[in-house]
Amino acid sequence: MAAAKKSSKSNVSAEELMSHYREMLMIRRFEEKAGQLYGMGLIGGFCHLYIGQEAVVVGLEAAAKEGDQRVTSYRDHGHMLACGMDPKGVMAELTGREGGYSKGKGGSMHMFSAEKRFYGGHGIVAAQVPIGAGLAFANKYMGTDDVSFAYFGDGAANQGQVYETFNMASLWKLPCIFVIENNQYAMGTSLQRGSSTPELYTRGEAFGIPGEAVDGMDVLAVKEAGERALAHCRAGNGPYILEMKTYRYRGHSMSDPAKYRTREEVQKIKSEKDPIDHVRDLLVTGKHATEDELKAIDKEVKKIVSEAADFATESPEPALDELYTDIYA
């Protein structure tokens, strides 16, 4: 992660830091709880946790404005919480219940919120990339100044449709930010083993799309980069690539034995680069918050997550007649 830009850390208010801390912590506690519920058999199928990558979505959502859209892959819980979706509805979707965002019919990988302009939740690697450009196409067509965020991983960055999309997005100057969440592993294949060029932020150069690498473990650096990218897009200059150098602590999915990396590697990132510890340090050393204030946030977040888990286990399964609804509009 040496090449990634650091935050200048100027002009950050205590309030803003506290907000980042709270939101990242919310994602982490939510994901830990989801892992627990999976272990208890309450969540089925595939479940991809976002732990370790929290600074990426929290930083970018802090830079976004009302009206901007986002679309991502199946590792989507963090994106949903960060854009303001209700943790109860998200958790209840994970448990496949009526109270879930998709009434239990989408699951962990396929969730949407028209209200929060979250367009999924896509289970096919990189399929969300042209869709994100399509959202941007609609913004331009309708003459709004909204920008879409198309999130995808380092694995998806090798898919052909990404480059078809880069070409058209640049050709048509679509207001789309391509966010490559480089968490170093495409399932079990490390970046070095799967990518001929490891500097993914340069992948748009052939299409005239500017890109930059960002320390995706530093929420302030992420936010600053997001602001640069948004300004570029809103000014009508076309798309922008942000490569977020990040790391996932957990396996690819819940059923990942993680033989492709060492415990030491994971431990080293956790102890040296954790995005939440980073903000906590800034808050404490800058005397922006007391330990008691931070504990109060921890407690509040735990309560919200616990209530979400209760809701998700108490909400009934969808009625059987839901099987045949929402197939056609």
């Binding site: 969730m111 949407f112 999924g120 869709i131 994100g132 399509g134 196409f137 078809e164 058209m168 509009a329």
Partner: protein, 464 residues
């Protein structure tokens, strides 16, 4: 020796064209590669080059002549030293002119087949009656191509969120000229030329539909849509369900489908059964120009992803189209194209050509076939099929697609489950053959369903 210059075939499906303009006059010397004339096909205006050198002895077809059949002599080319009388001889006497080679080949069936693509051999498409048209409505003859363009133009005038995107839809005026004139009327914001990236632009259109626009995606052929089928099925068809009804993809994927003429295995597949398999999609495959128009308008207005399967052979065919301000045909309704009591022939799209030709031939032998044009494949009007079969007690299905897991297979299963007691014979599925489409004209003809095969199937189920 004087040679005749023949009206050229300038596309796989061209049967005739307009000799728009002569660029040479009698007495002019031409060399190989010189442009002699401009010829308008139903798709484009093309320049026609000389292949031999010589002097234009006589022009046989005046410029501006429409409907000049392929292989008609249009001029006489003289060799060096020949005078005008040779041109007269060549024009009147026909014994040794090249054009006569094809005539003499009439004695040999296989040679005849090799000069004409299978689908062209039958000439004009049979017309069928229309339903639910107000009395006193006027009709105009329109090609399927024109009907499709009018449908899109009318819907684009109605709603700004409707736009057309695809390869060559704008400046080129459409690879098959379906979008002719749309760029001029609606501008580049709404008629969007894409690079050759089906997967990418299909996905962009899905995203635009999620955001509330109404894209019409043209695939140059549905064969190329295989590159995009993940976006069509996984993204467009399933999102409404996966989002619990919050958002879907109101859009149309359209383009030519199935065999054209002599374009081989990779450009000839019929995807009717493939898309019909998918919940969340609607699938339409019309036959007449009126249905093309009315169903295209309904498809654009439909809040679901609609697969609109067109046919290149039909593009140039003319049918009566009602002159109404807003003519629509409902999706999911079959139409009785011809009434009869002895057997039900169910078909759709270009399959209707074979069904109707067979019905005509069978009528002469005293077998009255009811011909049902499904028009929509999903939802399929199975009630109409069952109703007809309850009357006729026999059913033959006709389609150009492959036989395994075909539309006909599904219809057979529905009839077995819902009308078993009414069947007096097994249902026969007439389909394309279980082979990749061959290039050779005679093989292609036999790879497709043929009218004699339909006739034979009907005779089999009627025990004649």
């Amino acid at each position: 020796m004087a040679t005749k210059i023949l009206m050229p075939a300038l596309s796989p499906t061209m049967e005739e064209g307009t000799l728009a303009k002569w660029l040479v006059k009698e007495g002019d010397t031409v060399a190989s590669g010189d442009i002699m004339a401009e010829i308008e096909t139903d798709k484009a205006t093309m320049e026609f080059e000389a292949v031999d050198e010589g002097v234009i002895g006589k022009i046989l077809i005046e410029e501006g002549t429409e409907g000049v059949k392929v292989n008609t002599p249009i001029a006489v080319l003289l060799e060096d030293g020949e005078d005008a009388s040779a041109a007269e001889d060549a024009a009147s006497g026909s014994q040794d002119a090249p054009a006569d080679d094809s005539e003499s080949s009439d004695e040999d069936d296989s040679a005849d087949v090799s000069t004409k693509p299978a689908a062209q051999a039958a000439g004009d498409m049979p017309e069928i009656p229309m339903e639910n048209i107000p009395e006193g409505t006027k009709f105009k003859k329109q090609t399927v191509r024109e009907a499709l363009r009018d449908a899109m133009a009318e819907e684009m005038r109605r709603a700004d969120e409707v736009f057309l995107m695809g390869e060559e839809v704008g400046e080129y005026q459409g690879a098959y000229k379906i979008s002719q004139g749309l760029l001029e009327e609606f501008g580049a914001r709404r008629v969007i030329d894409t690079p050759i990236t089906e997967h990418g632009f299909a996905g962009i259109a899905v995203g635009a539909a999620f955001a509330g626009l109404r894209p019409i995606v043209e695939f140059m052929t549905f064969n190329f849509a295989m590159q995009a089928i993940d976006q069509i099925i996984n993204s467009a068809a399933k999102t409404l369900y996966m989002s619990g009804g919050q958002m879907g993809a109101p859009m149309v994927f359209r383009g030519p489908n199935g065999a054209a003429a002599r374009v081989g295995a990779q450009h000839s597949q019929d995807y009717a059964a493939w898309y019909s398999h998918i919940p969340g999609l609607k699938v339409i495959m019309p036959y007449t120009a009126a249905d093309y128009k009315g169903l295209m308008k309904s498809a654009i207005r439909d809040p679901n992803p609609v697969i609109f399967l067109e046919n290149e052979i039909l593009y140039g065919q003319s049918f009566d189209v009602p002159e109404l301000d807003d003519f629509t045909v409902p999706i999911g309704k079959a139409k009785i194209a011809r009434e009869g009591d002895d057997v039900t022939i169910v078909s759709f799209g270009i399959g209707m050509k074979y069904a109707l030709e067979a019905a005509d031939a069978l009528a002469e032998e005293g077998i009255n076939a009811e011909v049902l044009d499904l028009r929509s494949l999903r939802p399929m009007d199975t009630d109409a099929i069952i109703k007809s079969v309850k009357k006729t007690n026999r059913c033959v299905t006709v389609e150009e697609g492959f036989p395994v897991a075909s539309i006909g297979n599904y219809i057979s299963a529905v009839l077995m489950q819902q009308a078993f007691d009414y069947l007096d014979a097994p249902v026969i599925n007439c389909t394309g053959k279980d082979v990749p489409m061959p290039y050779a004209a005679n093989l292609e003809k036999h790879a497709l369903i043929t009218t004699p095969e339909v006739i034979e199937a009907v005779k089999s189920v009627t025990y004649r």
